[in-house]
């Protein structure tokens, strides 16, 4: 296979990836809730993510969408619960660790691909649900997969370069003959 054909295949892959990476992004309000926590009990949420940029994360934010019921309907959907929270990045480095009162919201930036973990320990003498809510801006271009976007640009540029070099070489060799 000559250099022009390899370049054009790379260019096609790069352009399709560029179109995909620049058009798809995470958006809106994502709520997750698994079971209930007794006093002293801990729960971990694992977030498997691409580097999708800035978001707002809320621990223990009881809402209609997290339970499917109106706020206050479920007796275990408690607020003002003292909890110990720990948030770690894919390299297991602690980003935040503190005692807080729910609902507790904080800004995060997902800038690495991998597993982020949120550990929550219930410090109140009551059983409660502990939803994790992640809020992204509505259709914010910053919430696209940054590494995939970069890779698509590199592939497109490399493909274009190889095609140009291939055509130039063909032209030069053709003239020299």
């Amino acid at each position: 296979m000559n250099i022009t054909r390899a370049g054009s295949a790379l260019l096609i892959v790069g352009l399709i990836l560029l179109m995909n990476a620049s058009s798809s992004h995470v958006s809106g309000y994502l709520s997750h809730k698994y079971g209930e926590l007794d006093e002293g009990e801990s729960q971990s949420y694992v977030i498997l993510t691409a580097p999708v940029g800035p978001a707002n994360m809320c621990i223990g934010l009881q809402s209609e969408t997290s339970s499917g019921l109106p706020p206050g309907f479920n007796k275990n959907d408690l607020t003002d619960v003292p909890v110990h929270m720990k948030f770690t990045d894919p390299q297991n480095h602690t980003i935040a660790e503190k005692d807080v009162i729910t609902p507790y919201c904080f800004d995060v930036t997902f800038n690495k691909r991998g597993l982020y973990t949120v550990h929550v320990t219930n410090n109140r003498n009551a059983t409660t649900t502990m939803p994790l809510v992640i809020i992204f801006d509505f259709h914010n271009p910053d919430n696209k997969e940054a590494d995939k976007y970069l890779l698509s640009i590199i592939l497109t540029a490399l493909g274009a370069l190889l095609v140009t070099v291939g055509i130039a070489m063909k032209f030069v060799l053709g003239r020299s003959r």
Binding site: M1, R5, S8, A9, I12, V13, I16, L17, N20, S24, H25, V26, L30, H32, Y34, G35, Q43, S44, Y45, V46, I47, L48, T49, A50, V52, P90, R113, G114, L115, L132, I134, K144, E145, K148, L151
Partner: protein
């Protein structure tokens, strides 16, 4: 030794002919475009120890499922180009007059389509999976799981290529055989996409068809839970599905090979 060298030369020449510009570029573009549309932005929240395994296996099954249709179309077109166009242009007659066995010619023509198509499909699948899920913790898992799509894709492509070769040798016309093969592939895809709401209980048996069996081989191997009530697919173990897809891979290939080597005649 000379014969062996000549076979490799023939294979290289045939591959160059079949995959000439713009076939290779179009195949890469079509397969990649269809595959990438099935991969969502990675953002999943789960409880406890999660989910690289689940998310990678689900994506692999989705990609393989999406690739089936372009592979049907491409193998149909390329095999028809390889057999029927050579017949129409008189090249097959020249090849058969050379001191090369018919087995070699058949093998070369078949391999020249099947092998690159499988490698394009698998290579792009591996690229997409690695791009989305490659991290320090998941590197080995990514390669281990992606590897299984290679034999599954190979057997699926062999089935469609075998069907296409039989049609091409029977009809001997490039356009006609291409259309018939693509239509046969579409028909197979359309039938298997019908649900039991439309067809009744007979639709449950579609998991054993050439279109669905490769996907179920992967799903059963990975232990993917069925979306709906488990059906007949749970009655067959993963290796059972692999035997089934190997059977499908040779079901048209063997009669086509016998026809080509024993009965096929080139008319002036």
């Amino acid at each position: 030794m000379k014969l062996k060298n000549f076979d490799w030369t023939l294979l290289k020449a045939d591959m160059r002919k079949v995959w000439s510009r713009p076939t290779f570029e179009l195949a890469v573009g079509l397969v990649f475009f269809m595959s990438i549309t099935r991969v969502n932005t990675l953002f999943q929240v789960s409880s406890g120890s999660a989910g690289f395994y689940t998310v990678i296996t689900e994506t692999l099954v989705n990609i393989t499922s999406t690739q089936m249709l372009p592979l049907v179309i491409l193998s149909g077109i390329l095999v028809s180009l390889s057999f029927a166009r050579d017949y129409e242009q008189g090249l097959l007659q020249t090849l058969l007059s050379l001191p090369v066995s018919r087995t070699s010619i058949f093998a070369v023509k078949f391999v020249a389509v099947v092998l690159p198509l499988t490698l394009i499909s698998w290579g792009l699948t591996l690229f997409i999976i690695a791009m989305n899920y490659f991290t320090a913790e998941s590197a080995l898992l990514v390669f281990q799981l992606s590897f299984w799509t290679l034999p599954v894709t190979l057997f699926a492509v062999m089935f469609y290529a075998g069907l296409a070769a039989l049609i091409a040798l029977a009809l001997k016309k490039t356009i006609t055989s291409t259309l018939v093969t693509v239509l046969a592939g579409f028909f197979l895809w359309f039938i298997t996409s019908l649900t039991s709401d439309v067809l009744g209980p007979i639709a449950d048996y579609f998991v054993f068809t050439p279109y669905d069996a490769p996907l179920w081989a992967l799903k059963r191997l990975f232990g993917t839970k069925p979306m709906s009530e488990p059906g007949l697919e749970m009655n067959l173990p993963p290796w059972g599905f692999f035997i089934l897809i190997i059977f499908y891979a040779v079901v048209f290939l063997v009669p086509t090979y016998i026809y080509f080597t024993k009965m096929f005649e080139v008319k002036e």
